[in-house]
């Protein structure tokens, strides 16, 4: 039969049409089944991320406060002091703000752009309030007389920089950088680069916790997969036990165990490993963070590994040995490569969870336990700089996506096996 002839059903309807019709019902049913989840994801995941993104780059406050100023600034080249027209519209915008008592916010915002702005604006405010500015004369001259900083072009440039409704400032700040007067990206002075330290520390802790979890989880998972049922069930309960305890309780118990007068130190002293007066500090430093986080995240490594190892037939190792491989060669060439999907899944899971952890490191990590998530929480709750918190949250998310992308390039996401 030629390929152009349409195959018909016995009723004379083209087969394709008939098939589509028959499958349509099933497709709708399937869609309806996942629709609630889709909606849920949309509301709780996609939408908040979008909202976070807009918030993190939103800079419309000044734009809305100084509409006339920005309109008249469009013609200004930004090299010399702006013309009378700009001064006048700035004065008019400011007057409205002063009447609405919103001038304070402008001062704070512009002060972030250029130090000292707030104080000169306060002087302007006093003049405006007392109606000491004569609108019939040159506004430029009168304003310039209020403070000599008004005669400096940098201050006017700072206003102009706030004109675009969107800004990358928050992201730059998250990386300890800022836009200088000329609009170039610059580093903040070395003693103020706190975020970069936090990023590196977060990555370092997540990386090491992942490595420790892998080193400890791999043998456990292997045992789980190979032990007879009655022992493996018991072991599985031991692995899952931490899941059934509250995170705070677990963290608190580590605090009890690890402190200088704690059980672990007592034990070390008892067996004579350390002298009583030189008990090592295992808490309020990275050791504590590593120990507690590894324990908490271990199940996330063990479970994917276990599920992959369970599928590896024991006859493969036997085949490796019978073909002449030493137990190590058989393990390394046969067993290990087959567990890579599980290793990938486990490491990715642990790393992503570790990178966003903050209660545990904050409690047991002391000064070194402040991670980027703590910083996000701090800006959410204390400084109320939500746009900065959003920006850092998105940077964290981007980081995770980058890691995911690298992983995909190296191992392939299709190879991930969670169960």
């Amino acid at each position: 039969m030629s390929s152009e002839t349409k195959i018909l059903t016995t009723d004379g309807v083209p087969l394709e049409v008939s098939l589509k019709k028959a499958e349509k019902r099933n497709k709708i049913k399937a869609f309806l089944l996942v629709a609630p989840l889709l909606l849920f994801l949309l509301i709780t995941y996609i939408f908040p991320i979008g909202e976070m993104f807009t918030r993190s780059i939103d800079d419309r406050m000044v734009t809305n406060m100084l509409p006339k100023t920005f309109a008249s600034m469009e013609k200004w080249d930004g090299k010399e002091l702006p013309p009378e027209e700009v001064y006048r519209s700035f004065y008019e915008d400011y007057k409205i703000l002063a009447e609405k008592k919103e001038h304070g916010k402008l001062g704070q915002r512009l002060n972030k752009e250029k130090n000292g702005f707030n104080s000169i604006l306060k002087r302007l405010f006093r003049k405006v309030k007392r109606n000491q500015i004569d609108e019939t004369l040159s506004i430029k001259e009168q304003i310039n007389k209020i403070h000599r900083n008004f005669t400096k072009v940098e201050y006017w440039q700072a206003i102009k920089r706030t004109a675009p409704p969107y800004t990358m400032n928050k992201y730059l700040k998250g990386m300890d950088m800022y836009l200088d007067e000329d609009g170039n990206i610059a580093q903040v002075s070395e003693d103020r680069r706190i975020h970069r330290i936090l990023w590196l520390r977060t990555l370092e802790i997540a990386l090491f916790v992942t490595i420790f979890c892998f080193l400890m989880g791999y043998p456990i998972a292997h045992l789980l997969a190979t032990l007879p049922m009655k022992y493996s069930n018991l072991l599985m309960i031991c692995v899952l036990l931490p899941f059934w305890t509250s995170l705070l309780v677990r963290t608190a118990s580590w605090m009890i165990l690890l402190q200088q007068q704690g059980l672990v130190n007592d034990f070390f002293v008892m067996i004579g490993l350390v002298a009583n007066d030189s008990r090592p500090e295992m808490m309020y430093n990275k050791v504590g963070t590593y120990v507690a986080m590894t324990q908490i995240l271990l199940p996330f490594m063990v479970l994917p590994l276990y599920s992959v190892m369970k599928t590896i037939s024991p006859s493969l190792m036997r085949a490796g040995k019978s073909l002449g491989g030493t137990p190590f060669v058989a393990f390394w060439k046969v067993y290990f490569p087959l567990t890579i999907p599980g290793i990938g899944a486990g490491c990715l899971l642990v790393f992503i969870l570790a990178i966003g952890y903050y209660i545990t490191p904050a409690l047991v990590g002391g000064a070194s336990g402040t991670l980027i998530s703590n910083q996000i929480a701090f800006h959410m709750k204390q400084t109320l700089d939500w746009s900065f918190a959003s920006a850092m949250g998105l940077m964290l998310l981007t980081g995770v996506l980058v890691i995911y992308w690298i992983y995909n390039k190296l191992v392939g996401v299709d190879n991930i096996k969670l169960g």
């Binding site: 006859s315 040995k321 073909l323 002449g324 491989g325 030493t326 060439k333």
Partner: protein, 361 residues
């Protein structure tokens, strides 16, 4: 070149997993060099355990296993140099066919050129040239099976063990693979120890068959003898079909004995009965009983046809004979076919030599 008749030797081997039950009891088995020996038996009879002990994955609880005169009980599997084909092939799923075959050579630090040559030779042996770059998952069951066989042979082992290698294949493929494995064995002369629970597989392939039951070798002989002259009723029952009569010996001579059944007497060949009064099970192969025999036979009876089942190449007739409604006859479907109808009475005869009086069931 003289062949060592005790190339592999199980010397009084016992095996127990739990310290309570012996899975293998006092196994004494010699395997000659270049022989194809099959361990046949129902599941749980200890045959796979024997294979695993030979491969080195299990240690004998007692006794020794010798390979070419050397005790190997304490040598780890990877140093034994024994090839093995596993039940589900156990091909390494992350390696190509070439890498699978090269694995035993690479761990032996064979030169690259040499590996290429040997892999090529092994693949041509199983007629799979050109499949080097395929992954095992891209092969059919039969092809995977052949790769597994090639991999077990590629490093020229002295002994190859096969643990029910054809169990997962369909019937036709299984049969053609049986011949293929047999031909490979004949052409390279390697010693093969083959485990199966499929009796026809054992009969077609082996030089000798060891029938296992209950941890013991029940009979060790070549296929024809095993089928024609089973030494006990387990072997008779397990290999092929047979008709059995339970009775008591009432008279016994050198090569004949009279067995009393519920309400008649038959003549049989005394195999494991020695004296009068012993209980016995008489075993008779279905094809040894003839319908309307032309010659005079020392067992002649009349039975009623209960059922006629057409099997293509032969017809199976179930008779009510000597008080048993389970007497089976195999009639070849030749041109001179008989009219066989249900509830018809027919005359059946067999020679007393074919009716073997064995141990009672």
């Amino acid at each position: 070149m003289s062949k060592n008749p005790e190339f592999v030797k199980f010397d009084k081997v016992d095996k127990s997993y739990d310290g309570k039950v012996l899975v293998v009891k006092d196994l004494q088995l010699d395997i000659a060099e270049g022989e194809f020996i099959t361990m046949l038996g129902p599941s749980g009879s200890g045959k796979t355990t024997c294979l695993m002990m030979l491969a080195g994955f299990e240690t004998p609880t007692n006794g020794e296993i010798l390979l070419d005169g050397n005790i190997i009980s304490n040598i780890p599997p990877h140093k034994r140099g024994i090839g093995m084909v596993f039940q589900n092939y156990a091909l390494f799923p992350h390696m190509t066919v070439y890498e699978n075959l090269a694995f035993p050579l690479r761990v032996r630090k064979v030169e690259k050129d040499e590996i290429d040559k040997k892999v090529d030779k092994a693949l041509s042996m199983v007629s799979l040239n050109g499949f080097e770059t395929r992954m095992p998952a891209q092969l059919s069951g039969g092809q995977q099976q052949r790769v597994a066989v090639a991999r077990a042979l590629v490093f020229d082992p002295a002994v190859v063990l096969m643990d029910e290698p054809l169990g997962a294949l369909d019937k036709n493929l299984r049969e053609s693979m049986q011949y293929e494995i047999k031909h490979i064995h004949e052409s390279i002369g390697v010693t093969v120890v083959y485990v199966t629970h499929d009796q026809s597989e054992a009969l077609t392939m082996s030089n000798r068959i060891a029938v296992f039951n209950d941890g013991k070798v029940q009979q060790l002989s070549d296929p024809a003898e095993l089928y024609e002259k089973p030494v006990n009723s387990f072997v008779a029952e397990f290999i092929g079909e047979n008709n059995t009569f339970n009775g008591e010996v009432v008279d016994i001579a050198q090569d004949k004995c009279k067995v009393k059944l519920a309400n008649s007497e038959i003549l049989a060949n005394p195999i494991s009965v020695k004296s009068k009064g012993e209980k016995t099970t008489v075993s008779l192969r279905p094809e040894r009983a003839l319908i309307n025999p032309k010659e005079k036979m020392d067992n002649m009876f009349t039975g009623k046809i209960e059922e006629v089942i057409y099997h293509g190449d032969h017809t199976r007739v179930r008779l009510n004979l000597l008080g048993s409604a389970e007497f089976i006859l195999k009639v070849p479907n030749s041109t001179s076919n008989l009219e066989l109808k249900v509830s018809q009475d027919i005359n059946i005869g067999w020679s007393s030599i074919d009716a073997r009086a064995l141990d009672p069931k």
